[in-house]
Symmetry: C2
Subunit: 336 residues, 2 copies
Amino acid sequence: MKRITIYDVAKEADVSLATVSRVINDSNVVREDTRLRVQEAIKKLGYKPNAIAQGLALSKTTTVSIVMSEKLFAYNAKILNGLMDVAKIYNYNIMFHTTSKGISRMQDVIESIIKSRVDGVILFNDNFSQEEMEVLNDYQIPTVVVGSRIEDNGIETVGNVYINFEQLAYELTNRYFERGIDDISLVEDKLNMSTMQQLKAGMERAFKENGKEFTKYISYDETYKSSYAFLTEYFKTHKPSKVVVTLRDSQAIAMMNAGTEAGYTVPDDAELICVLNSKYLMMTRPNVSTYNVPEYDMGAVAMRLLTKMLVNDESVKNNNKINMSYNYMPRQTTKD
Amino acid sequence: MKRITIYDVAKEADVSLATVSRVINDSNVVREDTRLRVQEAIKKLGYKPNAIAQGLALSKTTTVSIVMSEKLFAYNAKILNGLMDVAKIYNYNIMFHTTSKGISRMQDVIESIIKSRVDGVILFNDNFSQEEMEVLNDYQIPTVVVGSRIEDNGIETVGNVYINFEQLAYELTNRYFERGIDDISLVEDKLNMSTMQQLKAGMERAFKENGKEFTKYISYDETYKSSYAFLTEYFKTHKPSKVVVTLRDSQAIAMMNAGTEAGYTVPDDAELICVLNSKYLMMTRPNVSTYNVPEYDMGAVAMRLLTKMLVNDESVKNNNKINMSYNYMPRQTTKD
């Protein structure tokens, strides 16, 4: 008898692999009707989730390295969950590497990856240089970069699963131009400079197309405490912009607390948008407007792409850059 | 003597890492003069590219498995940082395993650990049963459990780096008894039941010693959204206790938001303590009182303990249960 796999369930329910995995995992981002359809398919086929590992245990073990910055652990949790779930489905071993200032540099990690002869690599963006990626390419180690977009440099063995942050910032800026607002600030996040550069580029493009210049790029320290202290000082002599955009939740909340305590009201005096969503944005009053980014899916898709690259699947040969969708989620810190 | 790396060669020859790698790999896209310069540098420094493989054969690489629950990834980030930094110092390979409901059970992870013949294991608490730990013990795999205290069951190969949550809750409760307050609630966290049981036991001990009975153990859903919804309903018919204790930040903030919106004031109507600290507890108004727990140190100490267990260090033979200190950090949600 043919062993029932998660693929059969996905096919039967007409949903993606990631969706089946999410239903099994009790994730609450699945629509109720989808969940029911998946559960029916599981029942109908007699699928048993734990049969996966048993079935695959006979074949050769594939080992994949995941590399990320220590400082971004907490922020990358959902992407990692997606990566790990799909890795588990394929029975991959995961070698975990972290980079941290002063303790482990990316170049040491690359060397360790080459030495341990892993089959493939998942890199979170912002951890590596072009040069280091070329080394992995020279050793013919299939690599997928997850997070933001990398330069298309013709490196065939490097896939990319990304959010187009440049386009996101471009659209955001134009939305405000349409309302006649051009007083927009972007708050720097030093932990994530490649994403910041893409957001900045998108804003600059929108300003330029409207015959203006984007100037309000606010740079300050990376932690909540210091950014809160900085902004408390800042608001003694400055007014907030009409629109403030931050990358991470802690910067958005620092902005809101410091601004409110300086006598400004969100969203009346300043609208606030935090690009990366987190549950904490729903815990503030008012709730912070944000973007819905499919983080879990990004991880799941990245690992799935790597599995295809590992077997030299023709379908991904010239098709290994995957642009993930996002959507704007206005809440209480914006007027639109 | 410092080990010569590919980076030293690149520096010496004044070329990129990628170029050195191409020369080593006999790629023909390198210009002849560059190739010669790189080869000279290799010779001068005594760099041995193939030493990697030879080295692996002679001195065995130590591989350690880290096992944690997917759902607690974000919460364990600092402990993981401590683990990874010390692992890096010892040049360990880290195999990363996660457990997640329906997709990977602990028993599958254990099986995979045994199969891949890792040298040692770090387990986060709440991921395993006594039985599973005994399996690791049977295979003589040194294991360190990090987080809360495990039963002392005479399993020699299992170390433990922990916070004594029972004692913490006992002291907390007695502090309120001294102020004449015994209306204390403890809010359940389903993601972390072994820690919850220890907190509950500590409260029960304090109540019992004072001739009373602890009854206010509040059980509800694990996510912020559902707990906020639950509490909003709850406060329509109930008053909050004089003192509310939660384990994680999202539960504390749910409590504060729902309570405030129901017309109660923190700390006047209800004092609030969140046992596990996070930066988000400083972003609320008022700031939430908490405990300072040395999370990074717990990870670092756990990995260091494992390194000693791996070499059968005598000093840890009967001394591998390490009780980490904590201290109370009153802020604005408590009156003391």
